[in-house]
Each structure stands twice: as C-alpha cells, then as structure tokens.
C-alpha cells in the first residue's frame, strides 16, 4: 500500500516535469519543420529532415543584430548594477551613519514598485536629455530597477562577513577603498557570481524598456526583435520557432552550467535569510 502511494506520487511529479518541458520540446521540433509538415502532420511528429534553413532565415532577419545588442546592453547594465549595489551594500552594512536604515528601506520598497507607474515620467525624462532611441536609456533603467533585488541577494552575505577582518585591515592602516577593493569584493566573489547570473537573466529577458525607449532596429534587443520578426513572418512557423529557440538557448546553456547558482539566486531574490 505504502509502495503504491509512493509510485502514484512519483508519477504526478514526473507528469508535472513533462508539462514543464514539453512545450519547449514541441517548439524545438517545429523550429526544424517547414509549413507543410507543421500544418499537415501531427504536431508530435518528428521533422522528416531538420530544416536548419529556418535558423538561417531567422539569423538573416536582423536577429544577429538584436542578439549582439542583448549581449552588450546586458553586460554594461550588469557591471553597473553589481558594482553600485556592492558599494551601497558595503556602505549600509559596514559603515556607521544615521540614515543607513532609512536608505536601506528605500531600496527594499523598490522591490514592490510597479515599473509601469514610472514609465511615462521616465520617457519624458529621457526625451528631455535626448536619450530616447539611445541604448543608454535602456541600460541605465536596467541598472536602477535591478539594484534593489541585487542588494537583497548581497545583503544576507554581507551580514555574515566577520567584522574582525576589516578591523584588522583598518588597524594596519588600510584605507576604505583598499578594504573594499582588495578585501571585501574578493570575499564576496561567490555571491557576486550569483548576482551577475541573475541580472543576466533579467536583462536578457527585459521587454518594456526597450519597447518603449528604442525605435531604431539597430538598437533593439532580442525580446523586442522577436516581436518584429513574428510580425513579418506571421504564418511561417518554422523561422518563428527558430527565432524563439535562438533567444532561449543561451539561457538554457547558462542554466546547465550554473543551475545551483541560479537556484540560489532565485530563492534569495525573493526571501531574505
């Protein structure tokens, strides 16, 4: 009886796993089919032969440019976010000043704020300083809006750093800058890696800012680019599937290599401790 119950539970868990990945497998299958196969044959059938030309078509339709933009805009935002968040977390957790609790509160409330409420004033702000249709507006927005969650991940770690180390360093005449760059940052590399990866996922997937602030094709990122591409190819499922695969695969590869870091980052971005 116990054994049977165990098997039933197992089957439930496995069915859920299948539901979670099956749409993606289906996507991969139709990204390799031509329309004739997609529309005439069962959706569960394998492609007669892989139509890699779908991927070629996708890549030629500007996806290369979007892909490259996603990479460099994400990268710039990650550097700024992780650096500024580390500095701020350092100032809040290690330095002594009256307003530190209040400032920390400001950052944490930032986790709750709907970005759409700030969108129109942000649009106007960028318009007035000529940053509309300029990637700067995008990576600055990514940085500002991802600082709170990055600091949330860093905070738990900073609180556990032993005070003795910095006391000893200061006694030896180490300056604050040297302490931060030479001692604190190296001690936090493991949690820094987590924040880098989490920001990578967030930035790679971001849509609203690019969709609102960028109008030229040459600055668009993948998420917005996909939208354009789908609009052009409407009924041509193969290349659309290929485009979606191109946007998904980098994240999946990242996940295969860093799944533990991602799991850790995802849970500590939601819950302290």
């Amino acid at each position: 009886m116990r054994r049977l119950g165990y098997v039933v539970l197992y089957v439930i868990l496995i069915i859920i796993a299948i539901v979670q990945i099956f749409p993606l497998i289906w996507l991969f299958l139709f990204s390799l089919k031509d329309n004739q196969q997609i529309f005439a044959k069962s959706p569960f059938s394998l492609p007669d032969h892989p139509h890699w030309e779908n991927y070629l078509k996708a890549w030629q339709g500007n996806i290369g440019t979007y892909f490259f933009n996603s990479i460099w805009i994400s990268a710039v935002a990650i550097v700024l976010t992780v650096l500024f968040a580390s500095m701020a977390t350092f100032a809040i957790t290690r330095m002594k000043w009256k307003l530190s609790k209040l400032v920390l509160g400001l950052f944490m409330v930032g986790l709750m704020i709907p970005l759409h409420s700030a969108l129109i004033p942000l649009f106007k702000l960028y318009l007035s300083v000529n940053l509309i249709d300029n990637p700067t507006s995008v990576f600055l927005s990514y940085t500002a809006f991802h600082l709170p969650v990055t600091m949330m991940i860093l905070l738990g770690f900073y609180y556990t750093l032993p005070k003795e180390i910095e006391e000893a360093a200061i006694m030896d005449g180490c300056s604050v800058n040297l302490l931060f760059v030479r001692i604190i940052l190296p001690m936090t590399t493991s949690v820094l890696a987590t924040t880098v990866i989490i920001n990578m996922i967030y930035n790679w997937n971001e849509f609203v800012f690019v969709n609102t602030f960028i109008s030229s094709d040459k600055y668009k990122t993948l998420t917005v680019g996909i939208q354009n591409f789908v609009g052009q190819y409407q009924t041509d499922w193969g290349p659309i599937g290929a485009t979606l695969m191109i946007s998904i695969v980098p994240i999946i590869i990242l996940y295969i290599f860093f799944s533990n870091k991602i799991v850790e980052g995802m849970s500590s971005s939601a819950i302290k401790g």
């Binding site: 439930i12 979670q20 500024f84 100032a91 809040i92 400001l106 704020i113 409420s117 500002a144 996909i226």
Partner: protein
C-alpha cells in the same frame, strides 16, 4: 576604526551612485506620474494643467475598472495556485529520489522571457494547428475553442502560461523552506506515531508559515504588475477581455498618445499596488513575532 568607517565623504562616495539612480529613475518619476496626471499632454507638445480631470475620467471609465477587475482576478488565481505549488513541494521534499533534478526541470520556464513564453503559447493555443487543440481533436473533442479569441475564456487561457511559468519558482522556495526543517523534529513526531498527513499538516506546514506569507505577498503584488505576457499574447483583447491595469495604461499613453491620462492610470496603479501590499501584509501578520525571512 570607527573614525575610518564613519567618514562622511567615504559613505557618500559609496552610497551615492546607487542612491542617485534609485531616486532619479524610480522615486522621482513615481511622484511625477501624479503630477503629469493633472495635465493634458500628447507626449510631444506642451502640457496643459487641467486639475483632477484625468482622475475623474478614470473613476468613470468602465474600461479602466474592468482592467482593475482583471488584475485582481489574476492576483486571486495566483494566490490560489500557491496551494497547488505547496502540495507539490511537500511531495518533492519527502525524500523523493531525483527531487533535485525534478525541481530544476520545473524551474526552466521561469528563466525564459515573457515574450518568448507568450509567442510559444500563442502557438500552443493556435485554433487549428496548436499543441492544445491538436491534442483535444486527437482524443475526440471536435470543436475545441479558439482560446485567445473567446472573450469569456481568454483570461483563464492567459493564466495557464503564468501558472506554468511561475510553478518552478514557488516550488523552489517552498522546497528550500521544507528542507530547512530540522530532521529531528519530523523524526520525533514519527516515533510518537504521527502519520505522514499529520507530519505534513501539524508539523511541516506550521513551520513554513512565514515563508508562505511572503509568497502570498509576492504572488499578489506580482500579478497586479503583469504586463509583458498579456501585451504580447492578446494586447488586452479581444475587446478588452484580457486588459489589465498596466496594459491599459500602456495603451492609453503609447497607442492613443494621451500621456496625461496614462500618467493618471500609472499613478492609480501605484496607489492600488501599495494599498494591496499593505492590506495583505496586515492580514498575514499574526500576533507572535515571526521568523524574519
């Protein structure tokens, strides 16, 4: 030591870059959204002060209220779905072999962009060639609905990918919390003759109550902010049947170029989110001092 670490210049230097970005790009715009809400403005030309006109329009705008209703409905669905996630986590955390790999598979959709998920599910829901209707027709259901074109079901159809996307995330959080429960507690209860059900309901669930409360806030507040997936899948349609607060604000501002009214809706979105956050927090906080998560 104290002197070095409380040097005002150093503190300013370290906190300022992040604080400036936070204030200039988040907090000041939030305040300005209330101010722009008092204007008539097409986004390009000059602003004209019209007082609270836009806010009065919002109060009388049925489309706005229906978007608020849809947002709240999604929030309710999301909160209820937490129970299913919790159930799955209880199974997963009860010494199941392969729980680690299962939980990682569950998380995959959470890592994908809402745009990719939306495009994929548009295909899944395709009336004739989609995964869902092909399956339904294969098992003998002749006239399956056109899921995203049917005003009476579109909101439920949109909730399925949301459920799919977030499952792994909440399961991950509950799983971690359940694994944090000291094994000795569970063992002691078992020795005293507690059944697996009693262990789950009397011991495990009360111990992760704090985490559950946090996730309720996350799920509800998160739902009030939904945008990407709905914007891409239906654009709020058909005929406003899947419009939510953020998508309505976006449409008013960036499609109809009524930036004054859009700002007013954006500000109302903020106010509603903050009020709901406050209420949910109050409701979920109990008398005893909880573990701080």
């Amino acid at each position: 030591m104290n002197k070095v670490m409380s040097n005002k210049w150093m503190i300013t230097l370290y906190i300022l870059p992040a604080l400036l970005l936070l204030l200039i790009l988040i907090y000041i715009p939030l305040v300005l959204s209330a101010y722009y809400g008092l204007m008539e403005w097409d986004g390009i030309g000059n602003m004209k002060f019209i007082g609270v006109g836009n806010f009065i329009t919002a109060i009388q705008d049925m489309k706005f209220w229906s978007s608020v209703y849809h947002s709240f409905l999604l929030a309710l669905f999301s909160a209820l779905s937490l129970l299913a996630y919790l159930g799955i986590s209880l199974i997963l955390a009860s010494n199941i072999k392969g729980s680690d790999i299962l939980r990682k598979i569950y998380l995959i959709p959470m890592l994908l962009s809402s745009v990719a998920i939306a495009q994929l599910w548009i295909k899944v829901y395709n009336p004739t060639n989609g995964l869902l209707n092909s399956f339904l027709m294969a098992i003998g259901i002749d006239n399956p609905p056109a899921w995203l074109a049917e005003p009476s079901i579109v909101l439920y159809a949109i909730f399925i990918p949301i459920l799919w996307q977030y499952a792994g995330f909440y399961i991950l959080i509950y799983y971690a919390a359940l694994k944090n429960i000291p094994e000795s507690l569970v063992e002691a209860a078992r020795i005293d003759g507690a059944s697996p059900w009693q262990v789950a309901f009397k011991i495990k669930l009360p111990l992760i109550k704090g985490v559950f409360k946090v996730t309720i806030v996350l799920a509800i507040v998160g739902s009030l902010k939904y945008f990407d997936l709905i914007y891409v899948m239906t654009g709020g349609g058909p005929n406003g049947a899947s419009e939510v607060m953020a998508s309505y604000m976006y449409k008013v501002a960036f499609r109809s170029y009524d930036f004054g009214y859009g700002s007013a809706i954006g500000f109302l979105l903020l106010v509603i989110t903050l009020i709901v956050t406050f209420i949910v927090r109050k409701l979920t906080v109990s008398d005893e001092k909880e573990l701080q998560y």
